[in-house]
């Protein structure tokens, strides 16, 4: 699918620059349905996002999405995914950064980079139980503090 990226030169430049700067840290680049996404290890996340924000003008974080795959496809894939939807106003392009997270692992917080990540990280913590290192005030946002479990995990029952 990556050949199609040639039709979107602005995004191709971003993909090339990222690979040049970070090399093998970019585990996978996908271009599908005109959406560009990069897959990374959680450790490289802050540096890559800062590079995209300051170097390539992706100054808005539209959304953060958590995902539980329970039984991830393929060898060595981890259970959870967190997706960062980035946007730049100058030419109205989007990019998505994906990190995989294991059950007992945490992810670096990016609140200092994007203010809108504050509540988004709290929501993912609430729904999936994924911890964000360095978040200023990581606690549940929707559910009560004494609630046990994380509802959007696939092993959380739909009915009580």
């Amino acid at each position: 699918m990556l050949e199609e990226l040639a039709e979107a030169p602005a995004l191709k430049r971003v993909a090339d620059a990222l690979r040049e700067r970070f090399g093998d840290a970019v585990l996978e680049t996908v271009y599908e349905r005109k959406e560009l996404s990069f897959r990374l290890g959680a450790r490289d996340l802050p540096a890559v996002l800062e590079f995209l924000k300051t170097g390539h003008d992706f100054n808005a974080l539209n959304d953060m999405i958590g995902l539980d795959r329970l039984a991830p496809p393929g060898e060595g894939r981890k259970r959870f995914e967190i997706l960062y939807q980035l946007y730049r106003f100058s030419d109205h392009r989007r990019a998505r950064v994906v990190v995989e997270v294991g059950l007992s692992e945490s992810v670096p917080s990016i609140v200092s980079l994007y203010g809108s990540a504050d509540w988004a990280e709290r929501e993912i913590f609430d729904m999936f139980g994924i911890r964000f290192e360095g978040h200023p005030d990581l606690r549940r946002i929707y559910l009560a503090e004494d609630f046990s479990g994380h509802p959007l995990r696939k092993d959380f029952p739909l009915e009580g």
Binding site: E35, A60, N62, D63, G66, L67, Q85, S116, R140
Partner: protein
């Protein structure tokens, strides 16, 4: 006499929070030093529920998110599914959708200006605004039988064609609304109390607004001219002529002016959609039980409250693996603290009102 900082609770049943929102405020004398919104009172676990529903069953559930703009929610979700399936929607359906969601924006903004004025103490505006909004809800009722939770958009198109009766009702609203807007403006624009309570209150800079992810009229009031209808057009918005109102003050008053001007632009768009309504079917041929090919998609629209997005991960079955909704009110509410710090306690009501939040959408 020295005062010390005190903590105040507003809500979850305070009338100006419009639903069940609680604000934990700290005030130094009358000046706000911190605001912490406490949400989740209306949390229904929508996203969890959606994982157990078929793609078509989710559409009516989206009505219950932003219940003042049900059609916009329908459209946001349906467009994401259609993008995932690569489904071509008939041109006529696209135009009817545009007409419906622009009427919805009109209704939503009118409800907003009414509530907002009411919060600040100008009761009469609410009565005028709701009269107009009522006419729009009558149109929805004539179109699909429901007024609030309308389920008026389907995967592949719209459930009904636009007949002459409904078109006539829409044209009447297009003719009447500008006069009524003028009435509202007469009541507010030069009203000393209104100006005093809104001008220079709740100011946020463009840089802060982008950092906090603010979208919609609140963002455009800070001078960032971002409107998804124009910048990433969907549902044939590229066929329509309209302006994107922008103000630079970033205060409550500018948010009001942006929304009022948006109502006028919505009227323009609806008129064009009616005049140029293309012939053809209003619904694409879609199998009764949709199986969506595996893949992922993130699609957003310009809802009345801001950028409304849906992320869908499909696994090839008739049910989604994950649906995540990007709720504009959730993101916008986050900026309440930065907007309110340093202003008077009584201004928090106006600043919160100016964000135009709906708790159904925040709590999901």
């Amino acid at each position: 006499m020295a005062f010390k900082e005190i903590e105040l609770n507003m809500g979850p049943q305070h009338p100006s929070t419009h639903g069940v929102l609680r604000l934990k405020l700290r005030v130094d004398n009358e000046v706000v030093t911190s605001v912490e919104p406490v949400i989740g009172y209306l949390h229904r676990g929508m996203e969890k529920l959606w994982e157990s529903q078929t793609y078509a069953q989710i559409v009516p559930m989206t009505d219950r998110l932003d219940y003042l703009a049900a059609l916009s929610n329908n459209l946001g979700y349906v467009l994401a599914v259609e993008k995932l399936m690569g489904l071509e929607v008939p041109k006529r359906a696209q135009y009817i959708r545009v007409a419906l969601v622009e009427l919805q924006r009109l209704a939503s903004h009118l409800a907003w200006v009414g509530f907002m004025a009411n919060d600040i103490g100008a009761m009469s505006v609410l009565l005028y605004a709701f009269e107009d909004r009522e006419a729009v809800l009558d149109i929805f009722e004539a179109y699909c039988g429901a007024r609030l939770t309308v389920h008026g958009i389907r995967i592949g198109g719209v459930p009904f064609d636009l007949d002459e009766t409904v078109a006539g009702m829409i044209r009447r609203v297009l003719d009447e609304t500008p006069k009524k807007l003028a009435d509202i403006e007469k009541l507010l624009n030069d009203n000393r109390i209104w100006l005093h309570r809104t001008r220079g209150v709740g100011v946020i800079s463009a840089v802060d607004a982008v950092d906090l992810g603010l979208t919609g009229p609140a963002l455009r009031a800070t001078g960032v001219p971002w409107d998804i209808r124009r910048d990433l057009p969907y549902s044939s918005y590229e066929d329509f002529e309209f302006d994107v109102p922008v103000r630079t003050g970033g205060d409550v008053y500018d948010r009001y002016l942006v929304r009022l001007e948006e109502i006028r632009q919505s009227l323009r768009i609806v008129r064009q959609a009616l005049d140029r309504l293309p012939p053809g079917p209003h619904l694409a041929k879609v199998p009764r039980l949709l199986k969506v090919p595996p893949g992922e998609v993130f699609h957003t629209i310009e809802a009345p409250k801001g950028e409304l997005g849906f992320y869908i991960r499909a696994n090839g079955t008739e049910r989604p693996e994950r649906v995540k909704m990007k709720s504009p009110s959730f993101i916008n509410l986050q900026s309440l603290e930065r907007m309110s710090k340093g202003y008077l306690f009584s201004d928090v009501v106006g600043i919160l009102g100016s964000l135009d939040i709906v708790l159904g959408e925040i709590d999901k």
